[in-house]
Subunit: 242 residues, 2 copies
Amino acid sequence: MTTQCKYCPLNRKDAFVRLSPDEVEFMQKFKVGELAVEPGTPILMQGSNAPQLFTALSGMGIRERHLKDGSKQVINFVFPGDFIGLQAGLLGEMGHAVEARTQMRLCVFNRSEFWNFFKSHPERAYDITWLAAMEENFLGESLATLGQRSAIQAVSWTMIKIFQRGDSLGMVHNNTIELPYTQRDVADALGLSLVHTNKTLGKLKDRQLASWSDRVLQINNLETLAEIALTEIRPPVKRPLI
Amino acid sequence: MTTQCKYCPLNRKDAFVRLSPDEVEFMQKFKVGELAVEPGTPILMQGSNAPQLFTALSGMGIRERHLKDGSKQVINFVFPGDFIGLQAGLLGEMGHAVEARTQMRLCVFNRSEFWNFFKSHPERAYDITWLAAMEENFLGESLATLGQRSAIQAVSWTMIKIFQRGDSLGMVHNNTIELPYTQRDVADALGLSLVHTNKTLGKLKDRQLASWSDRVLQINNLETLAEIALTEIRPPVKRPLI
DNA sequence: CGCTGCATTGATGAGTGTCAAAATTGGTGG
DNA sequence: CCACCAATTTTGACACTCATCAATGCAGCG
């Protein structure tokens, strides 16, 4: 049973700019269905010219880029509300793959409608571009992490980012958040080895700053963590929902 | 003397999607002037809420992100035709700084007109989003470079990228291109130390693959370089001009 | 002509990667 | 409920890439 856009659970959340009833109705015209996928399912493949675009309604995943030698780079973590397939929609080809890490429900749009969508409602086109700019901003910060931050700085930074992203979505309770990711995912995101990532996480736990085990991340001292990570805590920005 | 858009030298180049006379006229309305800057000039500052956006008409620069400890990450190299200020235009704040490395001429737009621009001409809005998606794609590849590629792979990758970008703009002659960057810029782009970057460039020269000295980069063996870099040579894609 | 910035080279060591194995967890079927 | 297996986490030992430090060379320039 497909949820109608007007009942979309995400549109109620503080994390997002609330869509007006008019806009919701407009979105409904482009929604062609919902897709439920199991953990581990590839949603979009790298290099694919996907006919469908998605918005994550629930669940989490990763964006990852594969290299010819078999190694892979995790580009970003996918949270509810994330738009999936921007590159397919515009460039006709995905630069990275997207894979589910939990069960996910996805809102499905037809790529063939993308241009109509873009043309007929400039506010929504603007929102898509806003998301693209936000992603560019985030990837720039990630680049600085891989290039300039040490292992402990990088791991601290990642824990903060994931925690705050989850917090803005109401996924944090008692300073803890459930994460479906493995240490391998984080290692691949930071360009560190799995072993070293593990040992670095151990240091954060020893210092009582953050502990991540049994799929649950607990942040004990966000301020100190931010100092280590050479970053600043900022209030979340409301993002548009596509 | 400000060049009129209809005489824009970039719009003639193969690298770009040719704008129709109508579109050129439309762009002219938003162009508020031209700016000429000297090497080393900051064009946009990180964190700034810039009132003006730019397109690079000529010259080259870098995008860089500064961290609290004084280190910096070069995010990308700026070539003629690049749009500068997307994040300022949409997010109201630049996530990185932009700095000239040669003399540059910039086409200037008012940020206050950005929304009008976006709303009144969906094709151009689409083009901006296309550029954003392309940048996202590139940054993803850069992330994979910093995270997964070794020093020699990363340096090879960078030389290829710069060379091909320049080639598409007609800046390559006899397999050589003049570059205004320093080895420090490349080191900061790859998260390597200056010394190690230098030694790695030396290896490429020893192997007769690429030599870069006296501001001139010469590529002797693009195929082997691409193999080392774990990448594939692809024909350039025409990009829109803003 | 002595700056100053950049490129180059050698010596040394720290931070991370690699290898290997054990411990732990979670799932599955008997 | 236990036995077994696969995936993941954890730990220790060792190797190596790359960072750091330091000095020299070289070119442009006021």
